[in-house]
């Protein structure tokens, strides 16, 4: 049983553009923030062990209201740490997952693989667990395929 979630997307675009969106301040700010949030890159140290520090700022009316109701400031400072950078091939980083209710924050490792194809770029994101004390909790992520099996079994 795998302990991973993978998400795959293909883009009709040159690898240079795709890479830039991941590795430049301007590129990251253009897409990284969730809906209704703006991202401002504070620091970008693009090397293994280097950090990307950024602020996530609620800008949508709904999101601003949500943050207020939850007693959170509209701006959240966040950080990810790069673990691998292979130009136009692979990017890997660790990020603290702190959005799961009732669970202490823990690191989630993300790997992004870029495959240059005739049609453009196929990008594969893999979210894996770190082998720390919390990795077991992440193991359930691998349940996705099992869940499908289960759903069928329960419907039968």
């Amino acid at each position: 049983m795998t302990k991973r979630i993978t998400i795959e997307r293909s883009f009709d675009a040159p690898i240079e553009d795709v890479w830039e969106l991941w590795t430049t301040k301007e590129g990251i700010e253009s897409w990284w923030g969730p809906e209704g949030f703006m991202v401002k890159v504070r620091k970008l140290d693009l090397r293994p062990g280097g950090d990307l520090e950024y602020a996530m700022i609620a800008t949508g009316a709904e999101q601003v209201e949500f943050m207020k109701k939850s007693g959170m400031p509209p701006t959240t400072e966040l950080r990810i740490r790069f673990t691998e950078i292979t130009t136009h091939r692979r990017l890997a980083y660790d990020q603290k997952a702190d959005f799961i209710p009732g669970t202490e924050p823990y690191d989630v490792a993300t790997t992004v693989d870029f495959h240059t194809t005739a049609a453009g770029v196929r990008m594969v994101l893999t979210f894996d667990a770190m082998h720390d004390e919390h990795w077991t909790k992440m193991a359930v992520m691998g349940w996705e395929s099992e869940l499908e099996k289960l759903r069928k079994a329960l419907q039968a």
């Binding site: 997307r9 969106l21 590129g27 253009s30 897409w31 909790k137 359930v140 869940l147 079994a153």
Partner: protein, 114 residues
């Protein structure tokens, strides 16, 4: 102790038992035959799974038959879907930005040619 769905499934033995139950309702003995765990271990983990709402028990004569309940799996499923949809939305913006760049370049190219 009330465990959440993550903690319950964090144990590899419990995952093995749940997998054994994917095929349908079974008695403890059948589960023991299918997994490489001692009977007392299977019983203990079944009790934990039962308390956490993962399995239901049905007594049939002297036998107790165990089967899976869908509710906790739905909870897990929702969690994974939320994580996934967050990324899907992000990647929609990623694709939009790539298109914007491409268009900007085409436009620039045209200007240069004209």
């Amino acid at each position: 102790m009330q465990m959440n769905v993550f903690e319950t499934l964090a144990d590899p033995m419990r995952r093995t038992i749940v997998e054994a139950l994917l095929g349908g309702e079974q008695a403890v003995g059948d589960i023991v035959d299918r997994v490489d765990i001692h009977q007392s271990g299977v019983s203990r983990h079944l009790r934990i799974l039962h308390e956490a709402g993962f399995v239901r028990v049905r007594p049939v004569g002297p036998r107790r038959l165990y089967s899976l309940r869908p509710e906790p799996f739905r909870e897990l499923d929702e969690w994974v879907s939320r994580y996934r949809s967050l990324w899907e939305a992000r990647l929609d913006r990623f694709a939009a930005e790539l298109n914007r760049r491409k268009k900007a370049r085409t436009l620039k190219g045209k200007e240069r040619r004209s």
